[in-house]
């Protein structure tokens, strides 16, 4: 078994924390992600990850915990995206882009100040690309409660969410406040992004939000199936990513292990490719 699972994997405390944190984040991301993909809001989701990066780098500057930074950043970003929103899809994309670019500029400044004021090295990598194995075990409880909150909100708003994703006019005719649904969903998405940033770093949290969801949408036809498949893929990919990253310590000649986020992204993209192939084959038969 040693070629598959390097010794010490099951006894290592950082690995346990990593597995628990990533399972929570992946579940929330998969559920929220399916709606993100159905609503065609992948760009807004990605913009929130860049604002989460600003929050994360700001948190280092003031000495707050990374989770607080990521969540505050993403929620503030959701507010900015909601306020900036344009009239049509292109206008909305441009407005989202402006929020995104301002946030990235601020991260640039914060990371520069982090690097010049503190003696800690590798802040850029840690905030942007994640360092799951150094996560503090005490973040498990807040992560779990925030994750549950996001899932409950999604569960409560599931009908208006589906209806507004399918047809805005129909939803309006039914008396649903489309604008309100959108703002609530943006806030939920921000929470998911904040949690995911903890696992894979802020720049790569898009992977957990979009990847499993788009793979599930490609190979299923019903919403409930898509949600189950996305959750299974999300948790599976992030656990596999953690395992491979742990193993990679022994692969590299200089014992410099590859980051968790890299393996999570690679497995997510592979599962997307397989699901797409499977989905098109099933439709053809």
């Amino acid at each position: 078994m040693h070629w598959l699972i390097a010794p010490g994997f099951f006894t290592s405390a950082p690995v346990h924390t990593a597995l628990v944190l990533s399972a929570i984040a992946a579940t929330v991301c998969a559920v929220v992600g399916v709606f993100t993909v159905l609503r065609g809001m992948a760009f807004a989701g990605h913009a929130l990850t860049d604002v989460a990066a600003t929050g994360g780098s700001g948190a280092v500057l003031v000495g707050a915990s990374p989770l607080t930074g990521f969540l505050t950043g993403a929620v503030a970003g959701a507010g900015a995206v909601a306020v900036a929103g344009g009239r049509d899809a292109r206008g909305r994309d441009v407005a989202t882009g402006i929020v995104l670019s301002l946030a990235t500029g601020l991260s640039a400044l914060f990371l520069y100040l982090d690097a010049t004021t503190s003696s800690a090295t590798g802040v850029t990598q840690r905030v942007l690309f994640g360092s799951l194995f150094s996560a503090d075990p005490s973040t498990v409880l807040p992560t779990l409660s925030v994750g549950l909150l996001a899932l409950v909100v999604t569960g409560l708003t599931v009908r208006p969410l589906v209806l507004t994703s399918l047809s805005v006019e129909l939803a309006r005719a039914r008396g649903i406040r489309v604008g309100l649904v959108n703002v609530v969903f943006l806030a939920t998405m921000a929470t998911a992004v904040g949690l995911s940033a903890l696992v894979s770093g802020s720049l790569l949290s898009t992977a957990l939000l979009i990847g499993p969801a788009v793979a599930a949408v490609r190979c299923t036809t019903r919403l409930s199936h898509a949600l189950v498949v996305a959750t299974a893929l999300g948790v599976g990919c992030s656990w596999l990513g953690i395992l491979l990253s742990y193993d990679s310590y022994n692969w590299m000649p200089n014992n410099q292990s590859l980051p968790v986020s890299f393996f999570v992204v690679v497995t997510v993209v592979l599962s997307y490719a397989i699901c797409t192939w499977w989905g098109t084959r099933a439709r053809r038969v």
Partner: protein, 255 residues
């Protein structure tokens, strides 16, 4: 510093011209994703000892072609997002393998005034001429297919091929811009000035000129500010372009 001004001027003109079409065609997300592909290219090239410009070019053109192929099959934004995270993650994996690279990660992502002054002007100028040349030659097709896709189709313009060639133009423009403003902020310089110009001027030709002029002012200002404060160029570029857009939007809104 004189070199930085020359390089900056070339970069700003290219970003303004290409950015105008990015905003007009609604390719904002793709224009954000392609520079991230470039990041992996630059990291890989410096790991094996190739010229970073070559790595940047190869990787961003590949990312552009993959994005344009994938997004024909629906879920346009989601497939772009996947290409983006895959390239970024590869960049991160490369960076984790070399401590020397890790220190250059920041300037690759956010730009550096040294990056601007160390770039050689001639290859950059040639690449810029190619990019602007292609845009001017195919100007009518790019604009027509963005504004009225049906009419463009009736004129016999192949949408898929045009889409791919436009993304390759974006990729080449990216290659020029990354060393100066950084992979994450190329996009700011392309989108902010162009979006502001679109709000101010309706005619495509004039709007293009306004976009290019604005991006020149933003980049010159950012270079000067970065030189004075020693803060990252990318920060000033993003604040400048977002600021211009916000001011213009407030003005046009109150009219």
């Amino acid at each position: 510093m004189i070199n930085a001004w020359e390089v900056g001027t070339i970069v700003a003109i290219v970003a303004g011209v290409v950015g105008f079409l990015v905003v007009l065609r609604g390719d904002v997300f793709a224009a954000h994703a392609i520079p991230n592909g470039a990041f992996a290219g630059a990291a890989g090239a410096s790991l094996v000892g190739l010229s970073p410009l070559l790595g940047l070019g190869l990787c961003s053109v590949t990312a552009a072609l993959v994005i344009s192929a994938l997004r024909r099959h629906g879920q346009r934004d989601a497939s772009t997002a996947l290409v983006l995270v895959l390239t970024l993650a590869s960049g991160a994996a490369l960076l984790s393998q070399s401590t020397q690279l890790a220190s250059s990660a920041y300037s690759l992502l956010f730009g550096e005034i040294l990056g601007a002054s160390a770039t050689r002007v001639l290859p950059l100028l040639l690449l810029a001429v190619v990019v602007v040349g292609v845009v001017l030659l195919r100007w009518r097709a790019f604009v027509l297919s963005a504004v009225t896709p049906d009419l463009a189709m009736a004129r016999g313009i192949h949408q898929g091929r045009l889409d791919a060639s436009f993304l390759v133009v974006v990729a080449l423009a990216t290659t020029l811009t990354v060393p100066v403003v950084g992979a994450l902020l190329v996009f700011s310089l392309m989108v902010g000035p162009a979006a502001a110009a679109r709000l101010l001027v309706a005619r495509p030709g004039r709007s293009l000129l306004v976009a290019t002029a604005t991006s020149l002012v933003v980049l010159w200002g950012a270079l000067a500010a970065a030189y004075w404060t020693n803060w990252p160029v990318g920060f000033f570029v993003s604040v400048g372009s977002a600021g211009v857009y916000l001011i213009v939007r407030l003005i046009t809104h109150s009219r």
